[in-house]
Symmetry: none
Subunit: 230 residues, 2 copies
């Protein structure tokens, strides 16, 4: 990850410094700005490969800054926001952000997402989004279209159902415990040990399986969890 210049924009000094520490440990060069105006200046004066952009900032906020930046340059942008408000998320991505992280964030996750964006930058040059389609014996997921089909038939999944299917299909063959599924779909641990996941599994089977009682795709591994057949 050397030879990359990442611009971090946030009005909170602690956050700026914390992010700097994580990214420097990965070998990237870190530039800092405390608001959108400053960020624009730095973007015009330097070769920036990626921008980490806080949404809430004085003077010029993250969304406005994104517009301004994208008018001139096509640099990958990862949005940061204090709350996990889905409205922010949608707005941020619509506006042209490539990824989105909510505060408080996991430093390792931040690093992983930054690396992921930088890799993409290298391979594609511009943001493009490769076709992400997986076909498992007739069960097909299109991650761009967020659509699942069984032998060509469109399966109408709810958002949670889709997320579970996506998790299992992108890791086909791997077994996920109920706790793991909950955590990765809901983004928080499930310490009440409710039956929620099991019910969703049932609903998904109803939609993707010919015979939900003898599932062909979504298999249980007794005492361990569920997996999607490879």
């Amino acid at each position: 990850m050397q030879n990359y210049n990442v611009l971090v924009v946030d009005d909170e000094k602690e956050i700026l410094e914390a992010i700097e520490i994580y990214l420097k440990s990965e070998g990237v060069t870190v530039l800092k700005a405390k608001d959108g105006i400053e960020a624009l200046e730095i973007v015009h004066e330097n070769e920036i490969h990626l921008i980490l952009l806080d949404i809430m900032m004085p003077r010029l906020d993250g969304i406005a800054a994104t517009y301004k930046i994208r008018e001139k340059k096509n640099i990958p942008i990862i949005m940061l926001s204090a709350k996990s408000e889905d409205t922010d998320k949608i707005l941020g991505l619509q506006v042209g952000a490539d990824d989105y992280i909510t505060k408080p964030f996991n430093p390792m996750e931040l690093v992983a997402r930054v690396k992921s964006q930088l890799r993409r930058y290298v391979t594609f040059g511009t943001f493009n989004g490769g076709k992400k389609v997986i076909d498992l014996n007739g069960l097909v997921i299109d991650q761009d279209a967020k659509q699942v089909t069984v032998h060509g038939e469109i399966v109408k999944l709810t958002p949670i159902e889709y997320k579970i299917v996506e998790l299992l299909m992108t890791n086909a063959g791997r077994v996920f415990s109920i706790d793991e599924i909950y955590e990765r779909v809901w983004n928080e641990p499930n310490y009440n040990a409710e039956n929620t996941v099991a019910v969703h599994i049932r609903k998904i089977r109803e939609k993707i399986e010919i015979d939900p009682k003898n599932p062909r795709y979504l298999k249980v591994v007794w005492g361990i969890g569920y997996k999607m057949e490879k």
Copy 2:
């Protein structure tokens, strides 16, 4: 959750001990420190996989300790703090922590969050090189799929059976006493010295051996224990 070292840092002895009890029941190894300075020493002298860090501590507080630790190592950190503490301060420092728990906390929640972070650590930590497949003369274990095959044939193991096989296969050649097997699979000592392990061994042999009476893979070492042939 075996083979993990968790460092708990708190100046209150009762809390330290309570947390130790909860975590040990999950099979993790617990190390303790009563302030940030002590914590730093332990971090540098041991392989720590996760840190539970109180914010309010004498000498070196949690925030400062986080910075110091993160300068050198990228270990997941879960912050502990009383609800009454300054929210602004908390918000600022959340950036450096991977998760955050307020006191008084629900033990189950604490355990769930610790497990969650450790899982994440594993996935991020072992990243790519982690093809977890072992082949011992045709007996193959896939630790992602939680699946065992003998010469391509899938062996349907129960969770306990799987765990025993996993233990023996990942330590092929090493002999484990019955007590050792019990402890590592059940996460607790076997007080009553029942016949449980032996029965499971029998069941496993029935499934993985051609002739269970003359086992090729799962061998007994008289008076000592069992091992998987390398």
